[in-house]
């Protein structure tokens, strides 16, 4: 058994760290809250680093890497709160690559920016394909699709889609009259497509609400399993980003706990502080273990992808929530002020736990899979 990173993976991670270090991502996260012009466009960086084609097969012009490699990049982005365009483009690339999309090489090179419009696979409690609600608890159905040979026409709205605002091509998931999902590549400029760009609370994430009114596009030749896999890939990517953010929050908080003195001793010597920092570590280590599991499921046990990726998101999401609040608490009042970085972590945590289904939904999916007998089948040798 060897769970160490390969040399190539180490290199990929270092390269991502290096590429992101050229930007003042934290400053941009703060200033972007008040000045749209300060928000970073990391798409050129992504292209340079080869991220758009990371998961696309080599035959189609991509790097042909695995999900775990993508998670390493996402973790690095999370470490510095970079708004790296991963959550929209990567799941889109998965479906375009498998679905026989004609312009896949342009997608791989990044000339064509693709974004996926999230659609949640059915479960025992919600029996049809759904998308996130613009507001409220009830998830609306995924856009209605009518298929006509190689093309399909869609009607519906998808709220809070990552990276869709700047996309050239959207990978929308529709459901046909008999409830089957279809993935459709729709040009962003096509008739009937309207994109309402914006962001919420965390200025590092580009979001959009996309309305499709008789919008037509190319039907991709992918299965329901592929379409579900795009959802779970995104769950795992959010988990990886979250783990990266927790890692930094822990480092920063530990440093402060060693330097700050009260009543004649460093605050990190008090058990109340020490134990809460160890709790951050415990949750972080659990999240890292599950990222490995998710990566392993994607590469070796596709039947466990739903379970593994949802478990990763559930635990990493909980870790980020905890770490974001604890980072502020360890720093005291100053940690809750505008100039401090802790509120940026907090903003990231607040939005992350509600995006693409939300952390709570991932937790529910863990149970869904267990109750359906699709829990952990794989055992190490």
């Amino acid at each position: 058994m060897n769970l160490d990173l390969s040399d190539e993976q180490e290199f990929l991670r270092e390269a991502a760290r290096g590429a992101l270090s050229r930007f003042k991502t934290l400053e941009a996260a703060r200033e972007g809250l008040e000045d749209d012009g300060a928000r970073l466009d990391l798409w050129p960086t992504a292209i340079e680093a080869g991220w758009p084609g990371l998961l696309i097969t080599e035959d189609n012009g991509g790097a042909g890497l695995g999900a775990y490699d993508a998670l390493l990049v996402a973790q690095e982005a999370g470490r510095v709160l970079a708004g790296a365009p991963l959550l929209g483009p990567l799941p889109a690339s998965l479906l375009l690559d498998r679905g026989g999309y004609a312009r896949i090489e342009e997608v791989a090179s990044g000339e064509l920016k693709a974004a996926w419009l999230p659609a949640r696979p059915p479960s025992e409690l919600e029996e049809s394909w759904t998308v996130d609600a613009l507001s409220g608890m009830t998830r609306p159905p995924a856009p209605a699709a009518s298929v006509d040979g190689g093309s399909a026409t869609l009607n519906g709205t998808v709220a809070w889609a990552p990276d869709a605002a700047e996309a050239d091509v959207l990978v929308a998931i529709g459901r046909t009259a008999d409830g089957e999902p279809v993935a459709v590549a729709v040009e962003a400029g096509a008739a009937g497509v309207s994109i309402d760009a914006g962001w919420r609370y965390d200025a590092t994430r580009s979001l959009a609400t996309v309305t499709l009114a008789n919008a037509s596009g190319t039907k991709l030749a992918v299965s329901a399993t592929d379409i579900a896999e795009a959802w779970y890939l995104t769950q795992a990517l959010i988990a990886a980003e979250s783990a990266g953010t927790v890692e930094t929050a822990l480092e920063v908080s530990v440093q402060y706990a060693k330097e700050r003195y009260t009543f004649g001793r460093a605050i990190g010597s008090y058990q109340a502080i020490k134990h809460s920092l160890v709790e951050m570590l415990r949750r972080l280590e659990n999240a890292k273990s599950l990222l490995i599991y998710a990566g392993f499921a994607f590469s070796d046990h596709p039947e466990e992808v739903a379970y593994a990726a949802s478990a990763a998101r559930s635990v990493a999401g909980g870790a980020l929530d905890f770490a974001a609040r604890q980072q502020i608490a360890v720093h005291g009042g100053i940690g809750a002020t505008w100039e401090h970085d802790a509120p940026l972590t907090f903003r990231r945590a607040q939005l992350s736990r509600r995006l693409v289904g939300g952390t709570h939904d991932a937790t529910d999916r863990v149970t869904e899979e267990l109750l359906a007998g699709r829990g952990p089948a794989s055992e190490a040798a």
């Binding site: 058994m1 060897n2 769970l3 160490d4 775990y68 025992e124 409690l125 822990l250 530990v254 706990a257 060693k258 001793r265 460093a266 990190g268 010597s269 008090y270 058990q271 502080i273 020490k274 134990h275 920092l277 160890v278 709790e279 570590l281 415990r282 280590e285 659990n286 999240a287 273990s289 599950l290 490995i292 599991y293 990566g295 392993f296 590469s299 070796d300 379970y307 593994a308 949802s310 478990a311 990763a312 559930s314 635990v315 909980g318 709570h360 991932a362 937790t363 529910d364 999916r365 863990v366 149970t367 869904e368 267990l370 109750l371 007998g373 829990g375 952990p376 190490a380 040798a381």
Partner: protein, 404 residues
């Protein structure tokens, strides 16, 4: 990322598997249907089985060859326990002796001690127990008060009480940490001894827990005389010897399996209302995801062992996760099933009763968090009031403080 064995490990595994395949019919049934009702009969069968495993090199594999081991590495040990679990056979009886106390004697004992004790320990002919913790020395182990006084003829006399002693009721020997000098700071005045459990003045009393079972014992020492050859390591150097034992304990604990989320899901899923209840689903999902995490944390530690590293103290957090998740699972399942889940002989009642004690076993959660905060995160230690103070003075202060 590779969950598979290296070719050498695969070969080792195949060898273990084929031995177990051939001999598993000789393994005793120790629980469930077909198990003897007489505890002595179970004990005898388990001793004999440990002997078989020792002959085959499946007990104490990491011990050096000269003491009957195989000189194997920790990863081979993991393979052995995986294969024994797979074959559905019980492991060795004396995990504490073979896993922790034997290696301590190998590291610190005299040649005479090694020759006298190790073989019988390995084969299960003489079972051992660990006599470290006391009623007032658990987390703060160096506070032991059991005294060993040196007599004129070189022998020693023990007085005091130990607690949480597994297997003491049938152990032949114990490794005991006792105070030999109270006039120096507490870490510097302890010595490790070997004590025969049948010596005059030794009393073993079962310590019943919440479930009603007695998994541990209290052991009392009243003027117990042991000979001069019983000292392990230097006189007054017992703390260092004890640290060796505790290091091996870290390798022993946490390798085993634990509570499985699919078992809890089964219990929850049997109730149609529960399986559609979003609160139940949330609680089950959270604890299951964490249990899944520690399964993979276990693989990470095996991977580290394989890479020649000792897994860091942070891996100790897996125990915290395991216990707390199992506590939540017990509550969740029993909330759904209702009082029927608390039937004394039921699976869940036993688990529910077992967990509160497990939380403190092998070090309390709080002490573990201190250790990891200091050793892994590099946080400053709690200020201590006992540093550099002779033990006798410290005790006097403590008594004064408690009386005030």
């Amino acid at each position: 990322m590779d969950l598979n064995d290296t070719p050498e490990q695969a070969q080792y595994r195949a060898q273990i598997r084929s031995w177990l395949e051939e001999h598993k019919s000789e393994a005793p049934v120790i629980e469930g249907d077909g198990a003897p009702t007489d505890p002595d009969e179970i004990l005898a069968a388990r001793r004999a089985w440990q002997g078989r495993l020792a002959e085959a090199g499946l007990a104490g594999a990491t011990w050096p060859k000269e003491y009957g081991g195989q000189g194997a590495g920790p990863i081979e040990n993991v393979i052995i326990s995986q294969e024994m679990r797979r074959a559905g056979v019980p492991g060795i009886l004396d995990v504490i002796g073979v896993g922790m106390l034997g290696p301590t004697i190998i590291a610190h004992g005299t040649d005479e001690q090694k020759g006298r004790y190790l073989g019988a320990m390995l084969h299960g002919d003489e079972v051992w127990c660990q006599l470290f913790s006391e009623p007032a020395a658990g987390s703060d182990l160096a506070a032991v008060q059991t005294r060993a006084r040196k007599n004129d003829d070189g022998s020693w006399t023990l007085n005091g009480q130990k607690v949480w002693t597994t297997n003491a009721q049938f152990a032949a020997f114990g490794l005991i940490l006792a105070r030999t000098n109270a006039d120096v700071p507490k870490h510097k005045g302890m010595t490790m001894f070997i004590v025969p459990m049948d010596a005059a003045g030794v009393t073993v009393r079962g310590l019943r827990q919440i479930s009603g079972e007695a998994e541990f014992n209290e052991v009392f020492f009243d003027d117990v005389t042991i000979d001069s050859g019983s000292v392990v390591g230097p006189v007054d150097g017992g703390w260092g010897v004890g640290l060796t034992t505790l290091m091996f304990e870290r390798l022993t604990i946490g390798m085993g399996g634990g509570y499985r989320s699919d078992r809890f899901a089964q219990a929850v899923g049997g109730d149609p209302a529960a399986r559609r209840d979003s609160g139940v689903r949330h609680d089950l999902g959270e604890l299951s995801a964490e249990l899944e995490a520690i399964r993979w944390t276990g693989y990470r530690s095996i991977s580290a062992l394989q890479g020649g590293q000792i897994p860091g103290p942070e891996f100790g957090l897996a125990k915290v996760t395991m216990v707390n998740c199992a506590v939540k699972a017990g509550d969740l399942v029993a909330d759904i099933i209702g009082p029927e889940a608390l039937a004394e002989d039921g699976e869940f009642a036993y688990m529910i009763s077992f967990l509160p004690g497990l939380k403190s076993a092998g070090g309390t959660e709080e002490i573990l968090r201190n250790t990891i905060g200091e050793r892994v995160l590099g946080l400053p230690p709690e200020p201590r009031l006992d540093k550099g103070i002779p033990f006798s003075e410290l005790r006097a202060k403590e008594k004064e403080g408690a009386a005030a």
